[in-house]
Amino acid sequence: MELTSQVGGTVTGGLAYVGELAALGGRAVYVTLVGPFRGRPIRLQRAIAQAMAVGVGALPILSLITFFIGLILALQSAYELRKFGALSYVAGAVALSMTRELGPLITAILVIGRSGSAFAAELGTMRVTEEIDAMETMAIDPVHFLVAPKFLAMIIMMPCLTIWANAMGIVGGGLFGVAQADFTWPRYLQASMDALYMRDIVTGLIKSVMFGITITAVGCHEGLATTAGPEQVGRSTTRAVVISIFLVIAVDLVFTALFFFLGGS
């Protein structure tokens, strides 16, 4: 009896949490899209600064990680494929896994670590130092001023980063292809291209946008929900990272299933 009530409590709590995230995201979308028509455009400069931090700042480490991931994928798939003498399929395997799944996912995980945590820490600190309260007493909406630019930056930068991650993954796989599977670089890239359909890339990018929205909503929500005390900022940051990772994977599952049943592939 206690177990069922606990499970029920957890489920309703989880749904309420997702509801809060949706409310925050909805308000951010509202002030971004409707605000300009009411004479309150969101600060593009702030969005650009966020985009630089979220996107451009992540490029070096993202390049390295996804290059390695591509190489790992090539090695792992070659392990099985070489039994059939089918090493030439490595290119397609890497390209498909990267664009459909690992490109968006690895990008999201990295962005959670770099930016989702930073959002929570930034807003949490501002909450603790009463800066958010000060903003409200100045009749400045924190969602408009702080949260909306982050959403805008994320929605634009996540697909960009994902495209880059896909490309670097394919290059990583190519290194194996060229070194071990009798490919040349042009032939490897051609084989990757041939294996990919537009649908593979687009579904990956749609997922990446959803991941970006999830990460921003969780990071900002956790930051704004910080209660008194500097030690709470650390807790908020940790929560933001853990919850973001969980929700990104959940969103991934939902959209992958959706594309599977809708696309028939």
Binding site: E131, A134, A139
Partner: protein, 287 residues
């Protein structure tokens, strides 16, 4: 329509600037303020006195709209903010200024950007005009020439002055201060008191200061409100407060400790008592 009729105490000269009526505020189940009522006249400086946990900060936060009252009315400039929507509240907020305890300057912006922020957000003024207002406000608080400093480069007293300049940016009619001298040394704190007196004299601003600093309150306030455990214990001028024979007022003004820690032995006993709530004896810990 009833709402419109209620807004009768308008901003005519003899109406109070601030009028609080039977204000109750809850944090969850717990009631923090148990029905507070008082008035503040235009141009008056009022000090809200009280110990830690008395509810004075909650009162202040409720009066600037950061907390929602459970019941009661708060009339600011003729509007009952307890029933206002967010956008209506924002209109009222443009005419009030608030200086926070920890100054709450935005750490990512320079002092100048901090002070200019409300002007940039709420007015269509040209940058050059904003620049002039900014200089004027910084000058008023004695921070002329500091607009390009980051808040982290300022001392505690200067931060507080910058926060006052930011609160003044929109030419508010009511100014709220949360513990203006908290964390400052006596000389710097006296400087802030002096600044509040200057603002009062120069602009005839209505000022409400929440503090537990008696000296500061007696220097700047026209009237004082003493709050204890969510209730008003006394309201009056400095003279009335000093002449008061009420035990709670005397205790606060004469800085008498709470009875249970009055004597050293009692205090030691209290510390060592094993059955004190929140303190477990070694035996129970093992079990």
């Amino acid at each position: 329509m009833a709402l419109v009729e209620q807004t009768t105490p308008d901003t005519t000269q003899n109406e109070p600037m601030i009028s609080v009526r039977d204000l109750r505020v809850n944090y969850g189940e717990r009631e923090i303020l148990h029905g507070i009522s008082f008035d503040v006249q235009r141009g008056e400086t009022i000090a809200i006195l009280g110990g830690s946990g008395s509810g004075k900060s909650t009162l202040l936060r409720t009066m600037v709209g950061l907390e929602r009252p459970t019941s009661g009315q708060i009339w600011l400039r003729g509007k009952n903010i307890a029933v206002l929507s967010r956008s209506e509240m924002d209109e009222v907020r443009k005419k009030i200024g608030m200086s926070f305890q920890g100054s709450a300057l935005f750490g990512s912006m320079t002092v100048g950007e901090n002070v200019a922020l409300p002007l940039r957000e709420h007015t269509q003024l040209e940058d050059s005009t904003i620049e002039i207002i900014l200089r004027l406000k910084l000058d008023q608080v004695g921070l002329a020439g500091f607009e390009y400093y980051m808040p982290s480069e300022l001392s505690g007293g200067m931060k507080k002055r910058a926060a006052v300049a930011r609160a003044l940016a929109m030419d508010p009619e009511i100014l709220f201060f949360d513990e203006p001298s908290a964390g400052l040394d006596p000389i710097i704190a006296a400087g802030i008191d002096h600044l509040i007196l200057q603002l009062k004299k120069a602009f005839r601003m209505t000022i409400m200061v929440v503090t537990h600093e008696l000296a500061s309150a007696f220097l700047i306030a026209d009237r004082m409100v003493l709050i204890d455990k969510g209730n008003i214990v006394a309201i009056g001028t400095k003279e009335e407060m000093q002449a008061s024979r009420q035990p709670r007022v005397r205790q606060f003004l004469d800085r008498v400790a709470e009875p249970e820690v009055e004597q050293e032995m009692d205090y030691l006993q209290m510390l060592t008592a094993s059955d004190r709530p929140g303190r477990r004896s070694p035996d129970r810990k093992r079990g």
